[in-house]
């Protein structure tokens, strides 16, 4: 039976692992490859790297880190953040990323999704959607959640999947960083609208939150701070998910 996935997300700037402090300063937290390998050994089903470099001057460092990860990490690696066109996607995939995730560039030019799927295969194209509640529905936001697009997030999810996204990474802007749980309504709405796998993101505070997102239909649940801060382990989350009767890889 296909297992539900538990995915730690790492913020990477250039070739370094970073953590944000009050959204302003960034603290260097070491080598992202070491962290990815530690999580893989701890049972992570996949690793997501979110590139938060401003501009492209640190792109070569990111590529070099992806290359090192491909050599050492024996679970899949998805890299997203700052991909504006097929050429950057190609560079990441050649460096060793198993999947690439696009967000703002796909909102600005939805044809990008079909271009990527046609060139590299549906299975390595993830479309990330940042969504916030608005009058009983959800709207999609670009530029790391800062720029409203006015687009209905569920309609965009459906459109992205039809254009060839092999997976959707759906983040609730309302819940992100709160540790108060995922926006389960958003997860369920997206899962009901598409037939590609959905990764739930934003708001994990503990193992039961990840289990709830998976029960709502997500194929995978992504979390960052609860893992990085050592509050909860991957194994702890998986035990909780299994206790809910959902299949996980132990």
């Amino acid at each position: 039976m296909l297992r539900r996935r538990v995915i730690p997300c790492l913020d990477v700037r250039g070739g370094r692992l970073v953590k944000g402090i009050n959204f302003e300063s960034l603290r260097d937290c070491g080598d992202p490859v070491d962290a990815a390998q530690r999580y893989a050994e701890a049972g992570a089903d996949e690793i997501v790297w979110l590139n938060i470099s401003a501009g492209d001057e640190r792109w070569p460092e990111l590529l070099a880190a992806v290359e090192r990860a491909a050599e050492r990490v024996d679970v899949p690696l998805c890299v997203g953040g700052g991909i504006t066109g097929p050429e950057q996607a190609r560079e990441l995939l050649l460096a060793g990323a198993d999947k690439i995730s696009v967000n703002t560039a796909a909102l600005d030019r939805p044809e990008l999704v079909s271009e990527l799927a046609g060139r590299f295969g549906t299975q390595c194209v993830v479309v990330a959607i940042d969504a916030a509640r608005s009058n009983g529905s959800w709207k999609a936001y670009a530029s790391a959640g800062h720029r409203p697009t006015g687009r209905d997030a569920i309609a965009w999810a459906r459109d992205a999947a039809e254009r060839g996204a092999g997976e959707l990474l759906v983040t609730s802007i309302d819940s992100d960083g709160t540790r108060a749980g995922y926006d389960v309504g958003l997860v369920a709405a997206v899962c009901g609208a598409v037939t590609v796998p959905v990764i739930a993101s934003g708001g994990a505070g503990g193992p039961s939150d990840l289990a709830a997102a998976l029960e709502a239909g997500a194929s995978a649940a992504l979390a960052a701070s609860i893992f990085h801060d050592g509050i909860h382990s991957i194994a702890e989350v998986k035990r909780e998910v299994a206790a809910c009767g959902l299949p996980v890889r132990i």
């Binding site: 039976m1 296909l2 050649l94 460096a95 990323a97 390595c124 092999g166 997976e167 194929s219």
Partner: protein, 188 residues
């Protein structure tokens, strides 16, 4: 240990697969030269992306002929396994035709691509491996060495016949179970 020759036909990244073999002590040569492939002692045919462009790339380089003419053990990985069969519905193309059977879309599953970790049940130790594919092989039972349940339907995910073996999952991304699979293939 016998050198593993990884066939490079421009289909993308071979770094993970190369590293997976090197981690278990196998020397790896990466080549797109048909003469190297013809002379290789052990071959690995990788593959990501779509079947059509992959077959075209193999033919343009003369690698299809070299693969067919080789007597060496060959492991096809993911799309590389699918290419071993006669034809693929993905683009409606002829494949290498080394194994009887064809490649069909996974059109019955609730979610496609079949993405993530799933069981591989067959003649080896039960394993849980990482998959990412939208097409699956349909072939006779006698070449099937392992299967994976996808929403109620078992599909062949390990095939074996003579010198040929194919795996639909990504052993290089399947942690310990993937490593053991590669070790077994190297020892066979």
């Amino acid at each position: 240990m016998t050198e593993v020759t990884l066939i490079d036909y421009g289909a993308g990244n071979l770094r993970s697969l190369r590293a997976a073999f090197e981690r278990i002590g196998a020397p790896v040569r990466v080549t797109g030269d048909p003469a190297d492939v013809a002379a290789a002692k052990r071959l690995v045919l990788p593959g990501v992306g779509a079947a059509g462009p992959a077959m075209r790339a193999l033919r343009e380089r003369g690698l299809d002929t070299a693969i067919r003419g080789s007597r060496a053990p060959l492991l096809g990985v993911c799309l590389g396994m699918q290419l071993l069969f006669e034809r693929s519905d993905e683009g409606g193309i002829e494949c290498l035709g080394l194994l009887p059977g064809s490649v069909r879309p996974i059109d019955w599953a609730r979610r496609v691509p079949h993405m993530g970790w799933n069981d591989v049940i067959g003649d080896g130790e039960p394993a849980v491996c990482y998959f990412a594919h939208s097409y699956a092989v349909a072939c006779d039972d006698d070449v099937v060495a392992g299967r994976t349940p996808i929403d109620g339907t078992d599909v062949p995910t390990v095939v074996r016949s003579g010198r040929l073996e194919g795996v639909q999952f990504h052993p290089e991304k399947s942690a310990g179970d993937g490593r053991r699979m590669l070790e077994r293939w190297l020892a066979a």
